[in-house]
């Protein structure tokens, strides 16, 4: 039992961590927490199933297409729901606009794709039992993503520009950085990361329109625990959440494990509103 708790827990945890990174990537350049993060994960599963099972495309074509499609969704989100409300960030209108876009995505999926969970194909035909690919694929995807992001942010000029905008938007603009294009870029990147979460976890989550809100909530917990914008915190938080949830699942049952996760979430947040690894809020007067 311990092996399956570990396998499922780490797999789900990696998916949650990837959604958490999706939140962070969008937040970094826009200071906006977007409800679309979970929907991008849902779309990753749906597009994967559509392209590979219904259209019969091979993995090597289906994966880039899925990532590109979700990157496009990310860019559309930036145009429709983020840019118009950036001027009045303190009114938190983005909560409403991104919620609206997330619901539009979900409902269109429900109407076009259907409301029943659809199967997701095996990708590599590697591994059985607790070494089944459905358990280690998300972990691998998470490792690749975090490695890639570290490389991007620390070693490339583009990454430095991202960090500059994230640190001080105003100063970055004054330096002549193309802040708007960088923001669009980060939404495209977030779309691809979210898609990867849903694609790599597709065999566990299936292609199901209602996965969005679920991923939204469980992907947000690592962000809240790890501190906004902290990707390493999100990975640690995500894996911890996955293990905790699966342990509770196996010991006390599914329903009460969600109650346990919710209670834990609220208690931790009330005790440490900035997250376990986050910085204190700035002054207001």
């Amino acid at each position: 039992m311990l092996a399956s708790i570990l396998a499922t827990g780490l797999a789900m945890g990696a998916v949650y961590a990837l959604i958490g990174i999706t939140y962070n990537t969008m937040f970094a350049t826009s200071r906006v927490m977007s409800f679309t993060a979970g929907q991008l994960g849902m779309l990753g599963g749906v597009f994967g199933s559509l392209l590979m099972l219904q259209w019969g495309l091979p993995l090597i074509v289906a994966l880039p297409l899925t990532l590109a499609a979700c990157a496009l969704v990310g860019v559309v989100t930036e145009f429709v729901a983020v840019r118009p409300v950036l001027k009045s960030l303190d009114q938190h209108l983005y909560v409403l606009t991104t919620l609206a876009v997330a619901l539009i995505i979900q409902q269109i999926t429900a109407i076009e794709w259907g409301t029943e969970p659809a199967p997701f194909p095996r990708l590599l035909e590697v591994g059985e039992g607790v070494w089944h690919e459905k358990y280690w694929l998300p972990v691998a995807a998470c490792a690749v993503t975090i490695g890639g992001l570290e490389y991007l942010y620390r070693r490339t000029l583009l990454g430095h520009a991202f960090i500059a905008v994230a640190e001080d938007n105003f100063a970055a603009r004054a330096l002549g950085l193309p802040e708007r294009n960088l923001r669009i870029g980060s939404y495209a990147l977030a779309g691809a990361i979210g898609a990867l979460a849903g694609f790599s976890g597709g065999q566990l989550l299936l292609a199901f329109f209602a996965n969005g809100p679920l991923l939204n909530f469980y992907g947000f917990i690592p962000v809240a625990l790890g501190g906004l914008g902290n990707n390493r915190g999100a990975v640690i938080g995500g894996l911890a959440l996955g293990l905790f949830q699966q342990a509770a699942n196996f010991t006390v049952g599914g329903i009460f494990s969600s109650v346990a996760v919710f209670v834990l979430f609220i208690v931790v947040l009330l005790a440490a509103p900035q997250g376990l690894f986050g910085a204190a809020a700035s002054r207001r007067v």
């Binding site: 927490m33 429709v80 729901a81 118009p84 409300v85 938190h92 209108l93 909560v95 409403l96 606009t97 919620l99 609206a100 876009v101 619901l103 539009i104 409902q107 269109i108 109407i111 809100p213 939204n216 909530f217 947000f220 809240a224 049952g253 329903i255 009460f256 969600s258 109650v259 919710f262 979430f265 609220i266 947040l269 009330l270 509103p273 002054r283 207001r284 007067v285």
Partner: protein, 602 residues
């Protein structure tokens, strides 16, 4: 000035905008009620069903409106309260757990359970940022449904449970409709009373000018806790009625779509309004019925509407209906303070003990913004605080008013030490302030903005305000009279009924002073009140400040206009790099060599 002197008597009272107290504002409610009461004349029981549903939804939305529309807290998952109320009522009436009770008693129990749940769900709002709170409410909604599914012994799980049966005369479609309509009317009255009371204004202040709300002594946690209790109870009562309407309930009846309907009804209606969200609720309930093919698409429709409202008409229906906002402002208006009104407002207050700051040190990271500052404010004296940019003037003011917590030093009023870092407790000590950038509620009228300054002086409790008992109407009348006096004193009474966001910057500065005067302050802290004023306005401001101090109020004036400081202050302190460079009578300070070289530059 001649016309201004007798202005109080002859000035036509400016019609107040958005005040449900006025009969004119009640009219739409009465028309709507008459239409609702006449609905059975159609004889169509299908309409009874729809209208009953709308009434039930409104019972919930009326409470939620105070949270979302007034306080600006984004509570999205409110279907959870409906679920909770529905199951509580049904289970108690069925008698599966406890002995069977009457449906009305069960509704009462549901209200109590709902109030507690509303408080528990709301608590995170006191600590968490907006998005976190929205997430927490969404999470709660999911949990409640899952518990309802899992707890089969009590809730019947996925199979469900019979709803409560209401006895005659409420056992027919129209009878039950009238019962729900009655609840809707009560909900409207309670929410309306709260909305136009000082609690409603305080909620809007928390939403739009939280810092100013704290300075007025509004304690956000206590206020929000009351509103969460109220909204939770309303939501659960609505749930009980909903179960009665459904006759049989399963967890599937409580979809996320309903949460969305409630939430969007408030936003479509418009923030800070009662009638707007009422229309919004009717609209959203009717929409899928009128356009039957749309039923399957309703969530998508709601989502598109949400996006459209936020981006295109952020004011909602209320803003479209608000005819007063296009009323013309008086032409050629000027700010003409009338000190005579000050006497009526402030009276002659018994001298407060002096306020003393001892050895205050405040660091931001490695920077010492204030470095061992001693300062003494005396009642009835205008104390000037000047110094170059970054010398710690505003920081000192923020330490006194509790926004900054110094690492070292003490703050006392006479012999009583004042706790540091508690902004919401300063008003109770008689300390009022204004801000460098005016912190005003743009969507409220000037009069309402000023009344917020007197929030602390209200005597009626939240429950009394909800029922509009005698103490509440006395409070309201007194606050309004005081606010008009304060506006006369600063010279803005002609603008009392206009939305504050239509005023000029200089006028907002005087509105802030009027709001601060509502406290009848022992000490008044003014943060650069002359910035952006014309020289004539500065002269009038100086007169006003001096006049305020003659009524026993001690004034701390942070300013860059050295002329104003030296003209009206009885005592001047010059700061440089967080330390006192010089202090004394204006003439002494003006002659001080270091001051001349460091600051005056002459």
């Amino acid at each position: 000035m001649a016309s201004a002197d007798n202005g109080a008597a002859t000035m036509p009272a400016a019609p107040a905008v958005r005040r449900p107290a006025l009969p004119a504002a009640l009219l739409p409610f009465i028309v709507l009620l008459a239409l609702a009461a006449a609905l059975p004349l159609t004889g169509n029981e299908y309409w009874a069903l729809i209208a009953t549903r709308a009434a039930i939804y409104w019972v919930l939305v009326a409470g939620l409106n105070l949270i979302v529309g007034f306080a600006g807290q984004l509570a999205i998952g409110y279907v959870a309260l409906l679920t909770l109320g529905a199951y509580t009522t049904s289970v108690l009436v069925a008698g599966t757990v406890l002995p069977e009770i009457s449906p009305f008693l069960a509704l009462g129990c549901a209200a109590v359970v709902g109030a507690v749940a509303g408080l528990v769900v709301g608590l995170p709002a006191l600590r968490l940022r907006t998005f976190y709170f929205a997430m927490a409410t969404l999470g709660f909604a999911t949990i409640v449904t899952q518990v309802a599914l899992a707890w089969q012994d009590v809730t019947g799980g996925g199979i469900g449970i019979a709803g409560p049966y209401f006895p005659a005369p409420f056992d027919t479609a129209w009878g039950f409709y009238y019962l729900c309509l009655g609840f809707a009317v009560v909900a409207t009255i309670l929410a309306g009373n709260l909305g136009r009371s000082r609690f409603g204004r305080a909620l809007i202040a928390i939403r739009d000018a939280e810092v100013a709300a704290e300075a007025a002594g509004i304690f956000k946690p206590a206020l929000l806790a009351c509103v969460f209790l109220f909204a939770g109870a309303m939501g659960a009562v609505a749930g009980g009625l909903f179960a009665g309407l459904q006759t049989y309930i399963t967890p599937e009846a409580f979809t996320f779509e309903l949460s969305l309907l409630f939430f969007i009804a408030v936003l479509i209606g418009g923030r800070g309004s009662i009638f707007g969200p009422l229309l919004g609720t009717l609209l959203l309930t009717l929409l899928p019925e009128i356009a039957a093919p749309l039923a399957a698409w309703s969530t998508l429709l709601y989502a598109v509407m949400l996006l459209g409202i936020v981006l295109a008409i952020p004011g909602g229906i209320a803003a479209l209906l608000d005819l007063g906002r296009r009323k013309r402002l008086p032409a050629d208006r000027a700010i003409l303070p009338r000190p005579a009104a000050l006497g009526a407002l402030l009276g002659q207050r018994p001298p407060a003990p002096p306020m003393q700051l001892k050895d205050i040190t405040l660091q931001f990271g490695g920077l010492r913004a204030i470095d061992g500052l001693d300062l003494m404010l005396r009642p009835g004296e205008v104390h000037g605080l000047i110094g170059p940019n970054g010398s710690g003037k505003t920081t000192t003011l923020n330490v006194i008013s509790g926004y900054y917590r110094p690492q070292q030093g003490s703050l006392s009023l006479g012999d009583d030490p004042m706790p540091v870092g508690r902004p919401e407790n300063r008003a109770a000590h008689g300390i009022a302030r204004t801000f460098q950038t005016p912190r005003i509620i743009g969507e409220a009228t000037v009069l309402q903005n000023v009344m917020i300054g007197g929030t602390l002086s209200g005597r009626a409790s939240f429950a009394e305000a909800m029922l509009w008992l005698p103490r509440q109407s006395a409070d309201e009348a007194r606050l309004e009279a005081d606010a008009r006096l304060a506006l006369q004193a600063v010279g803005l009474e002609a603008l009392a009924g206009f939305r504050a966001d239509r005023l000029q910057h200089s006028e907002l500065r005087f509105v802030e002073i009027a709001r601060a005067l509502m406290l009848r302050p022992a000490y008044l802290l003014l943060d650069e009140p002359a910035a952006g004023l014309s020289s004539e306005e500065i002269r009038r401001l100086g007169q006003l400040i001096r006049e305020i101090s003659t009524h026993g109020t001690g004034v701390l004036l942070v300013e860059h206009h050295a002329d104003l400081i030296f003209e009206i202050c009885g005592h001047v302190t010059v700061l440089n790099l967080g330390r006192v460079l010089a202090e004394g009578k204006p003439a002494e300070v003006r002659a001080h060599k270091e001051v001349i070289s460091a600051y005056l530059g002459a």
